[in-house]
Amino acid sequence: MTSSTADTIRLRVSRYRPETDSAPHFDEYDVPLRKEWTVLDGLNHVKNEIDTTLSFRWSCRMGICGSCGMTVDGEPKLTCGTFLSDYAPGPVTVEPLANFPVARDLVVDITDFLQKLPRVSPWIIRPDEHRDVEPEVEYLQTPGQLDVYRQYSMCINCMLCYSACPVYGLDPEFIGPAAIALAERYDLDSRDHGTSRRIDVLGAHDGVWACTFVGECTKVCPKHVDPASAIQRYKLKTALHTVKAFLLPRGAR
């Protein structure tokens, strides 16, 4: 049995209304199968022409804002960069991102991440922070120094990594790949001196040590941030830090 005619494709979309539903169910829609159309275009077609009650997040449609992450055929994807033609003849199953509470239809609650992010102090920490006057020139940073952390600065906070991480799914206390990658981004930034401030948070049981290096976060990251590498490098950093703290007297640290 074909699930579509040659120029349409069927979307199986997860629906959930908290007022009336105890669990999500699927609704099916046939949308045009155009070679330029992404899954997001398909969902917008559904909302505009077929079922105006479908709710989902989207904004930039060019893979930079991080709003439109959803589970497509079991994989976390940015729906604005996922083409329907790659799933022909379909059907394509579209569900909310895994590992997050589902608020409505394809919308998940990501407040957990927003609460975790400030804990890693993701900002430049200077040694002379109480100084009132900022220097009148830039902090020098060579292209080589920028290259050291550049990759980890590319995170768009799309949450696909949290969705793919089985540890986060089983243990929601885990601070998570994106937060750790951002901590590493600042640690590696030559202008930052905040590693000692961050390391206790990252070295805690719900920090880097909850990670078992499954590596799925890196696989699904649409911006090639490679959060898994940030986490493993951070593990080495916290381990060395602990050893040093153990061996050296307080003053020498």
Partner: protein, 584 residues
Amino acid sequence: MSDGVVRAAHDVLIVGGGAAGLRAAIAIAETEPRLDVALISKVYPMRSHTVSAEGGAAGVIAADDSLDQHCYDTVSGSDWLGDQDAIEAFVREAPEELLQLEHWGCPWSRRPDGRVAVRAFGGMKNMRTWFAADKTGFHMLHALFQTSLKYPEVRRYDEEFVTTLLVDDGRVHGVVAIGLMSGRIQAITAKSVILCTGGCGKAFPFTTNANINTGDGMALAYRAGAPLKDMEFVQYHPTGLPFTGILITEAARAEGGWLLNKDGYRYLQDYDLGTPTPTPKLRSMELGPRDRLSQAFVHEMEKGRTGQTPYGEVTYLDLRHLGEKLIDTKLPFVRELCLKYERIDPVRELIPVRPVVHYMMGGVSTDLDGATPMLGLYAAGETACVSINGANRLGSNSLPECLVFGARAGRAAAEHATAASGPPPAVEAQAVDEIRRLEHDLLGGGTGTESIAGIREEMQTTMEGAAGIFRTGPEMEKGAETLTELQERVGKVGIADTSRSFNTELLAALELANMLDLSECILAAGRQREESRGAHQRTDFPARDDERFLTHLLVHRNPDGTSRIERHPVSITRWPPGERVYGR
């Protein structure tokens, strides 16, 4: 308090969490830490449209550059409609702001010696555009957002949509907002409100803008009684991808890209923009101002020299001669976008491009400190019109604009809040009315006879025809009539989604109402301005007319919903009106 009509009271409430809003919040948190500041946005701050900006941010730092030259480039770029006192302040403060961002961690691209690098940009005589690869807006926004996390005392209302301003006796006292997750509609009072909600590109069918750019703040101000300024000036960016409208940054041309017609000819040389040189010449050819480049496209189209695609006419951006190494270093995001959305590799192939709506020079009328004529109401960023951009904005001026005026508006709003008294009891009744309107009239209205998407599409088609790159009086008249009809039909829209949780259909209806109001303002001002200047080009009045129209036009809303236009003088300090020359 948090469950009743009034949810909370703050000293300053910032609406919108992009570059301008975040900059304002940080400015207040740093300079007036005793004040109670809150930021409310319909999306999480890192989703704000600032994130999509690519090319760069201008600020004078090179030894052979000068503040006066940046001023002159901006004044001439604005076709002399920019307020020169504002431009002088902007040009002076831009480098300080960009430096501040560097201190806050923004990864500006560097020279080998470690100092910040600058590149050329359209309409600029010197290289002064700071850049972070070709994701400048992304890096700036994340640096600002992450820095703002240093101030946990700034309360954030994420994913909450402001539906109206609370105004009493000509003063602003707060807002009413819908929490998207909870569905609760409540008032939040504040002594100062700063609108930083960006532009309104979604009123048009082809735009670089995101889904969220529906002019919410401008509409809020307009309906509350604050005037909008220079609304007729809509910028068409010359290089957007066909179908999606995704932006291909001006930086591609600054690095040496060429614009070719279907015959492979660098057609800009036919339009008084200079003669082609193998490497880019500043203020010439592909580095001319955006309005002139978009107009050249239309002329080429009329001559039948544009390429045909299933999604309309295009010209071609040629980056092949730049080489793979340069493209991967300076324009990696451009290459990524072309590969993904056009299945084209710019290293080897031509990129099809066309002008798409990109930026609103117009907006809520403010002074140099972001203050509107309405007490307690401020605006900054694309939402505001100070004006530094006049009739046409130069590329890489809008990011520093957000920083300079976001900070200024923040400080001014803070000062006002320090001295202001709390909201009068009358605002609670207003809030109750608004809650009733939303709950009964909209949510409780049942099914209607009109569709939101249908009316939105008709509005967009109308605006493309009436407020395109070239306009005529009769077309704008006709467009205005269609909009009046659409305003009436939108009242018959029913909202099928009765859930209170994340009701994006209700959101779309409210956004559509905002865009319709603003579209009417654009055409009202457009009809009044009987000249061609910058981005407002009329084939029935093809010349610039300084005698009659060297003035801003303010659109005011009358109590009956119609609009009236008033004039507002342009500040001219050191650059008397002259001829706008490029390529010579």
